[in-house]
Subunit: 762 residues, 2 copies
Amino acid sequence: MSIGQSIPRVDAWEKVSGRAKYTDDLVDRNALTAKVLHSTIANGLVKKIDTGEAEKIPGVVKIITCFDVPDFPYPTAGHPWSTDPSHRDPMDRRLLNKRVRFYGDDIAAVIAEDEISASRALRAIKVEYEEYSVILSPEDAMKDGASILHEECPGNILKHTSVEDGDFEAAIKEEGLLCFEGVYETPIVQHCHIETVTSWAYMENDRIVIYSSTQIPHILRRIVAQALGLPWGNVRIIKPYIGGGFGNKQDSLYEPLNAFLCTKIGGRLVKLELSREEVFCATRVRHAEKIFLKSWVRHDGRLVARSYKALSNQGAYGSHGHGIAAKGTNAFRQLYNDEKARKTEIFTVYTNTATAGAMRGYGTPQAVFAIESHIEDIARNMNIDPLEFRFLNMMPVGYVDPFTKNVNRFDSLRQCVEAGRVQIKWDEKRKRYAKQSGNVRRGVGMSLFWYNTAVWPISIEISSCRILLNQDGSVQIQLAETEIGQGADTVFAQMAAHTLGIPWQKVHVISTQDTDITPFGLGAYGSRQTYVGGAAVHKAAGMLKEKILTLAAEYVRKPVSDLDVVDGNIVQISHNNEKLVSLEELAIDTLYHIEHAEHLTAEVTAQVKSNAFSLGCAFAEVEVDIPLGKVTLLEMVNCHDCGTLINPKTAEGQVHGGMSMAIGFGMFEQMLYVPKTGKLLNGNLLDYKLPTILDHPRLQAHFIENHEPTSPYGTKALGEPPTVPGASAIRNAVLHATGVAVNSIPLSPHLLFTEFKKAGLI
Amino acid sequence: MSIGQSIPRVDAWEKVSGRAKYTDDLVDRNALTAKVLHSTIANGLVKKIDTGEAEKIPGVVKIITCFDVPDFPYPTAGHPWSTDPSHRDPMDRRLLNKRVRFYGDDIAAVIAEDEISASRALRAIKVEYEEYSVILSPEDAMKDGASILHEECPGNILKHTSVEDGDFEAAIKEEGLLCFEGVYETPIVQHCHIETVTSWAYMENDRIVIYSSTQIPHILRRIVAQALGLPWGNVRIIKPYIGGGFGNKQDSLYEPLNAFLCTKIGGRLVKLELSREEVFCATRVRHAEKIFLKSWVRHDGRLVARSYKALSNQGAYGSHGHGIAAKGTNAFRQLYNDEKARKTEIFTVYTNTATAGAMRGYGTPQAVFAIESHIEDIARNMNIDPLEFRFLNMMPVGYVDPFTKNVNRFDSLRQCVEAGRVQIKWDEKRKRYAKQSGNVRRGVGMSLFWYNTAVWPISIEISSCRILLNQDGSVQIQLAETEIGQGADTVFAQMAAHTLGIPWQKVHVISTQDTDITPFGLGAYGSRQTYVGGAAVHKAAGMLKEKILTLAAEYVRKPVSDLDVVDGNIVQISHNNEKLVSLEELAIDTLYHIEHAEHLTAEVTAQVKSNAFSLGCAFAEVEVDIPLGKVTLLEMVNCHDCGTLINPKTAEGQVHGGMSMAIGFGMFEQMLYVPKTGKLLNGNLLDYKLPTILDHPRLQAHFIENHEPTSPYGTKALGEPPTVPGASAIRNAVLHATGVAVNSIPLSPHLLFTEFKKAGLI
C-alpha cells in the first residue's frame, strides 16, 4: 500500500545530485542565441527601426523586427482549447509588437552566434517611437481620454461582469443592519521561479521542435501553432525537468517567438533564454487588485448581504484575463454564506504594467486578503470573537454551489480552525496579547481560505495516462500532467503502485513530456494533478490490472474473481492472498508467448466532471516593532483539508512553499513602477524583496484528511491553497497586536509607518 | 493511396542537411571516456594485470580489469528471449575476460576525463599472460589436443546437427547416377557500417540509461540487465539515428560493459566509442564457412539426392552461433528439390578469430555461394543450359516446407530469371562469349537465391505499434522496429497513411526508440520490418480508424458502415465518397468534447506466425584479365520478388546496397590473420578492401511484384536478399569467361593467378 507513505521523491536523487537535466542543460553546443529588444517606452508606437549598424556586427545572423512578423493574433493563457469561441482566451498577442504597451514590450529580436554579439546588436539597433502618456492603474485606464491599448477594448476594459444573487436592494433594507465598508489593495508580484524562462527550437523536416521550461506542453503546442499559423501537429514540445513555474509557465511566453525565429534561418537551432530582469519585466505577474467590500450584518453577527467590487490590473496583454478576478468572486460567494443576497462586480483592465497572468492561487490570494481582512474588521468592530463570527457565517456543510455543483461535504473549515487554534495556542495568546503597550507588541491572527480543485466546469478537465508493463513486473507511466517541482511524479508513482498492487519502486515515471508521444493532458495548473491526473492514473492502472488478471487466470487456471495483485505477485484471494505466481513470471510468459505474445500496456483518457472544495485556514503570530514599522513573524500554522494525503512529507513541503509565498505577498514583495515612464524600478532579485530564510519562522503544516469521494484516491487541491490565507492572517495578527487595520499589502515598514502614524501610535 | 509511391524518405531532410543526430552527437560535453584494453595474444590466460602506473596518470578516473567483473555469463545475440531454455542463445560472455580467446579480447577498461588520458593509461597497463597455440580454423579447432576455448564445448564444437530427408543411402544407389562433388570456401568479412560502435551510459536513480547505436533496443535492454544481474526494467535503452548496422548491431556489443563501467563510478556519464580498428577486430564478422557438397544427378539433369556439410567458423564467442549455418541448410534444402533424398550436417566451431555474428544475409550468402557454384558446375559438366538445369530442379510452385509451413505460392524464381535474362541480354552474350581466346575474356553468369522473411517459427515474431491522433488530423506512429538506414520509417509512414486514409505527409514517425516508452518490438533483423512491423502498423492503424469512424458516425449522424476516411476527410461511401467533415474537425471535437473528451490513440501487438519465401536471382557480366588475375564487373542485374513494393525508389536503394555488399564479398573483402599470433592483418579501411564506386558497374534492380497474401501490405523480405546471390553470379561469370571454376572467394588477383595457373591459362 503506497498511499499515505512518505516515500522519497522519485526525482530526489537526480535533483540533489545535480544530475537532473533542465532545458538549458540539454541544448546543443552549436545553438544560436536569440535576444529580444525591449521597448524603452511604456505606451506608444514604434515608428521606425534601423537595424543597419546592428547587422554589421560580426556574429549577427539575423534581425527580425515587429515589421517582419505575421499578423496572427494569438492567446497566451495555458487553457485547453474550447470548441466554444466564447470560452477562449483573449487573442491579443503578436510575436513582436509595433504598438508598445509596456516598458519592455518586445519590438525586435536578434539571432547571433553568441550572446555577446547578440547583446551588442541589441544596443546598436535604433528605434523611433511615438509616445503616449503612461497608464499604471485600472482607474487611470478607465478614465475618459486615456489612450486605448487594444482597439477592441474601449475604456481599456478587457472584460466587465456583474452578478447578483438574491434581491440585493431589498436585503440591505432590512431594519437594524450594521453596514461595514473597506477598500483593500494587493500589489503586483512576480513568481520568482529559480529557473528563468528558457526555450530552444529547431526544425525537423517541416516541423518545429521546441524544448521549453513550461508547465503546459500540449497547450503550448497549440498556441505556438496558432501564433505561427501552422497545423497544430507540426509543432512538437518537449518539457524536461523544470525549475519552478508557479503559473508563470502556465502561459505561452517566448516559445512562439523562439519557434518563429528558427523558421527564419532555415530551421537552425536557436535558444532564447531570458535574464532574471527580463523575467520580471516581460513575463507574467500576479494581478494587482483593488477590492471594494461592503457588508450588511445583524447585531448577532449574521451576514445578511455583501457586495464585492474589484478592479483587476491586467497589465499590457490579455493572458489569463478576467478568469483571475472571477475566481476571486467565487471565493467571495462561497467562503461565506449571506443569508439574503450578494452582489459582485469585477473589471479587468489593461494598463501599461507587466502582463498579469496565472500565479499560484489564481486570484484567490487577492480576494481572500480582502475578504478575510474585512471579516476580521467586522468581528472586531462588533466585538465578536473572530472564530465564532466565522463559524456563524462560513459556508455550511451540505452547501451545493449552483454553478459548479460542488458540495461542501465535510466540516473542513471548522476542523481546520480547531486544529490550528490548538497548534498556535490561540486562546491563550489572544488573551495574553489583549492588553499591550510599548513599542514592541505581539498579536495572533488568522484567516480562512477557500479554493476549489481543477477548473471544471469553466473548461474541460481531462488527462490521459499510459502504462507499460516490463518483463520484471515494473512499469513506466506517462502522462502530460507535468512535474514542476510540486512532487506530482512521486504521487503518480504511489497511485499507480497502489492500484496495480506493486511496490512503488517498480513504477518508473516518465518525467519528460513530449507532445509527439505523451498521451494528451493539460499540464500543471489549478491544483489539478492528484485530482485529474490521479483519475487518469487510476483508470489506466485499473485497465492494466484487469489485463494482467485475465492473463493470470489463464496462467494459474483460477477464476479472475479469485485473483488479485499484491506486492508484485498474483495471489489467490480465497486462500488468504497466497502467492500463485510473480508478476515478473507472468509478464515474461505474456510477452514471449509462442501462441499469443503481447506487450501489456494500457492507455486511456479520464474526463473529470466534478470539482471539490479545498478548504482550510492559516494562523499567524507576529511581533510588531511600531516605531520601526517592522513586523517579525514568530509562528505560522496552515491547516488544510486536501482529502487523503498520498505522501504526507511532500504534502508538507507543498504547504511550506505556499506559506513562504504568502509571507512574501503579505510582508515584502511588490513590483514598483516609475509613474512617469512606466519603467519597472525593482525588477531584479536584489531590489525586489523576496523573503529569505531569516524571515521565516518554523512553518507548521497540519492536515485534516476527509477522504474526497469524487476523487479515486480521495484527494483534492493542495498545490495552490497554501499560498492563499497567509497574508490576511499576518495582517489580522498585526491588527491584534496594534489595533491598526492595514488594508494594503505588503506590510512594508514604509506603509506601516504611515498607518501607525495615522493611528497615532507614533 | 500512399502504397507504391516513391515518396521521399521521411528522414531525407535530416540526413542530407547533416542535422540528424546520431548517438555521439547527443552525448553531454561532460561525459567521461572509456577505452578497452584488448589482449595482445589470441589464446591463453591473463595471469596478472598491473594497473599501478596507469592509475597515476592524471585524468584517469577508474580502471576495471577482468578480475573485477561479476560472473554473470550472458548471451549477446539479438534474438528475443525464449521461455524455452533450449531456444536461447549461447551464454558464454563475461564483461571482461580472463580467458583470452582472440587477439583483441577485452581484458580491462579505463575510464578517464578525456581520450588522451585514457589512451595513455591503456599503454601503461602491464599484463602477464599464459599463452596457448593459436587456432584459426574449425578443422584445427576440432583436432585432438587443441586447446578448448569454452569448457562447456568439448572439441570446440559449439553445436553440431545433422538432418536427413528421405532414405539417402538408398537414393544414391539408383543406377546410372552421376555424382558431383565440390568444396567451397567463404571468407571472414566485416560489416563496415559508417558509424562505428558507440554508446554512452549513465544512471538515473538506480536505473541505467544507455544511448546506443543499436538495431535492437528492446533486446539489448534484456541482455544488459542479464550481464549486470539487474531486473530488466532497470535498464533503459535509447536508440537515435544510426549510421548502419548490417547485423553487427543486432548484437549486444559494448553496451553491457559501458553500463557496468558507469555503475562503478556512481552512475556518472561514460562514453565508449570504438575506433574503426576495434570494430574490425573486436565486434562481429560474417562466419567463414567451408562447405562440402555432393550431388547425385540423372542423365536428364534431375537432382536425385544431395548432401551438404558445413564447417562454420564461430570465432571466439557464441553470438548468433549455430543459427547462421542452420539458415544456410534451409537455403540448401529449399532452393532445389531433390527427387529422393538429401542430407545436411553442420558444425559451428569456436576458433581464435573474431566472433562471428549476424550479417546481412545471415548465412545464406555463404550457402548460396556454394550451392549455386556447385549447380553451375554440374550443368556445365553435363552440358545442360544452366537456366534450364535450374528450372528443372528448383523449388516447385506449391512446395510447402514441412517445418516452417511456408508455401511457394508463385513462380517467382522463373519470373525473376526470365526478367534478368532479358535485362542482361543473357542468350546473346552466352553465345557471343562461348568461344574466346586471348588474355582478356568476358563472361556472363547468374545465381538464384533463396531467402525467407523474418524468423518464425525459430523464435517469436511480434511487433507492437502505437498511433496518436493530433488535432490537425495528423498522427505520430511509434514502433520498436528500428530505422537503420534501410528506409523502414518511410514505409511505415506510407503504410499508416494508407490504412488510415490520410496523406503520408500527415504521418510523423517517431524514429528514436526508447525502451521506456516505445511499444515492445524486436528491432531490425531478418528482413522483418515490412512483414512484421507492417502487421503491427496495419493492426494499430485499423484500430484507430475504427475509433475514428465510430466517433464520426455520431458526429455526422450516419451509419459507420457508410463512412470511410479518404485523404484526411470523413466521406460517405454511398454518396461517391463525398466529404462530410475533415478529420481535423472531428479530432478537435473529440479531444475537447465537453461531454466525452478523449485523446484518440491505438496501441496493439501483432504476432506473426507465418513466413514467406523471398526469391530471385542475380546476373553478372565480367571481363577477366587472365595474366593480371583481375576481374572487372561490367554489368549486374538483381531480380527480386519481394511482394508488393511500398516505395519503389527506396526498394531500389535497398537492392543497390545489397548488390554492393555482394560485390565486396565476391571480389574483394577478406579479413586476414597472422597464423602464428592470430593478429588481424588488415583490420582498417585502408588494408581491408571494400569495393569503391570505381568497382561498381551500373547496378540494375528489377522487381516482380507478386502480392504476398500473408502480409497485410503484400510485402516480404527485401533488406537482406540482395546481398545473397551476387558472389556466385560473378564466380559463374568468371567460369563462363575462362572455363575456370574457382571455389573460394573473394576472387582476388592472388587467388585467380593461382587458379588460372593451375588451369594452364597462364
